[in-house]
Amino acid sequence: MIGILGLQGDVKSHCNILQKMGVESSVVRYPSQLDRVEGLIIPGGESSTMTNLMERMGFYKPLTEFAKSFPVLGTCAGLILMAKQVKDSRVKPLGFLNVSVDRNGFGRQIHSFSETINVIADKREQKIIATFIRAPKISDIADSVEKLAEYNGEPIAVREGKHIGLTFHPELNGESIFHELMIGKNISRETIPNHQ
């Protein structure tokens, strides 16, 4: 079962993709609900709003623990929350993805756009439509982080270990490649003694 963090944002779009893939999903709105999922999607939305609700609900510690054992896929605001560093005090990132991210790196909504991009992962190559909505930019990236796609020479899709972060929204175009990559690396709860 894959969880989708449901504090705010385009939860339903992710839910639809998982459904199309035949993967069971469940919306996570309380920290205790992390115990029943084997992967988590942090959707697009407003990272300042999600920070706010995550703090009020006590998500930081359990989510950081969760990410040690299970994969997390973040799109846009999700990527921002997964990052090691965000240059904006209004957002408190979880810090398990070794990248620095700038919010609204392309500017306001009028600069949002869709573009065909090339994704290369696990020897698989695929062209998809990527929609960037007030998208962040990845400004710095650790050596341990793999680039899965670039736009104008800058990384827009990255993977470190089991985690994947995207500056754009494949879920708005029904593109499931990153969900497949994430679940492909999924670890079943049964194999991890502490998470029975």
Binding site: G6, L7, Q8, G9, D10, V11, K12, S13, R29, G44, G45, E46, S48, T49, N52, L53, R56, C76, A77, D88, R90, R103, N104, G107, R108, Q109, I110, S112, F113, S114, I129, T131, I133, R134, H169, L172, N173
Partner: protein
């Protein structure tokens, strides 16, 4: 206007789902809204309750006020233009406002025509009282629909009426057969292709938010349970005795809208809500929802 650019406009509305969009009258209020967890702010010089009280012509906000708000917060900043006033909309687009609300809260500029919203790169949100009105606005290029409710009333009754009407009309469409749809389109005064689409999917082709009268966490919960995907709170926050606390409470109530225990907890600490108006206190000619068609 190609399909991709419409998708980019609707994309922002998708990102605002499950959140609260708050009316603010200055940069300080915008900061309070952002700190409380708002997903966006609507920058306007007077909130609807004050427009109602002061009278006169309500116009687009001063660009300085909009710019100050944009400087203060990182979340999307929306602003309102008068119905049919495409020059105001052009100015708002030049200011790089994230969403333009062609709003009945301001005094209409054109009684016959709404703005042709496909001409703009900025996305538009428009109010609706029923499915026909929603589909007409979508036909003109709106990327987001909200119920009109009765702005500045602090009374949820009209927003409920409009949301229920839209939901019921959509349900009714799904059981119609193809040969009945043209008659529905004629009766609703809605574009046929959109009527056909709703009949097939049972939902609007753009997100559907609630506005007009939300004043408490319970109001937000009610609208979400009735099918709203996000709530706009206009006068409800800054006309109350405790704007910061109320803003936070409504944000939480929108996320946990289906958890009554949590809602009880959230609502317990709040002071007095805005006083509000019974619909009988608003003469028919003064109802903001009657503006636009």
């Amino acid at each position: 206007m190609n399909k991709e650019s419409m998708k980019v406009k609707i994309g922002l509305a998708e990102m605002l789902k499950g959140g609260v969009i708050m009316d603010v009258m200055n940069a300080d209020q915008a900061k309070i809204a952002e700190d409380a967890g708002a997903v966006a702010v609507m920058a306007l010089e007077r909130i609807p309750a004050l427009i109602r009280k002061d009278g006169g012509i309500a116009r687009m906000s001063n660009p300085t006020m909009i710019k100050e708000t944009q400087k203060m917060v990182s979340i999307p900043v929306m602003a309102k233009c008068r119905i049919g006033h495409f020059a105001e909309a052009q100015i708002l687009e030049a200011l790089e406002v994230d969403f333009i609300d062609e709003s009945e809260v301001l005094t209409p500029a054109d009684e016959a025509n709404h703005i042709w919203k496909y001409d703009f790169k900025a996305p538009f949100v428009c109010g609706a009282r029923n499915l026909g009105e929603a589909l007409r606005r979508i036909g003109e290029g709106a990327a987001l629909i909200r119920t009109k409710g009765e702005a500045g009333s602090g009374n949820i009754v009209e927003a409920v009426r409009h949301m229920r009407t839209i939901q019921t009309q959509m349900k009714e469409l799904t059981i119609k057969s193809q040969d009945e749809l043209m008659a529905v389109a004629k009766e609703m005064g809605a574009p046929f292709a959109l009527v056909e689409q709703v009949a097939k999917t049972g939902k609007l082709p753009v997100p559907n938010f609630a506005a007009g009268g939300i004043a408490t966490p319970a109001d937000a919960s009610l609208m979400m349970q009735l099918g709203a995907e996000t709530v706009f709170v206009g006068s409800g926050i800054f006309m109350s005795k405790d704007p910061a606390e109320r803003a936070k409470a409504i944000v939480e109530a929108t996320t946990y809208y289906d958890d009554p225990k949590k809602l009880a907890e959230i609502s317990a600490e709040l002071k007095e809500a805005m006083k509000g108006l019974d619909m009988s206190e608003i003469p028919e000619g003064e109802r903001l929802q009657e503006r636009g068609w």
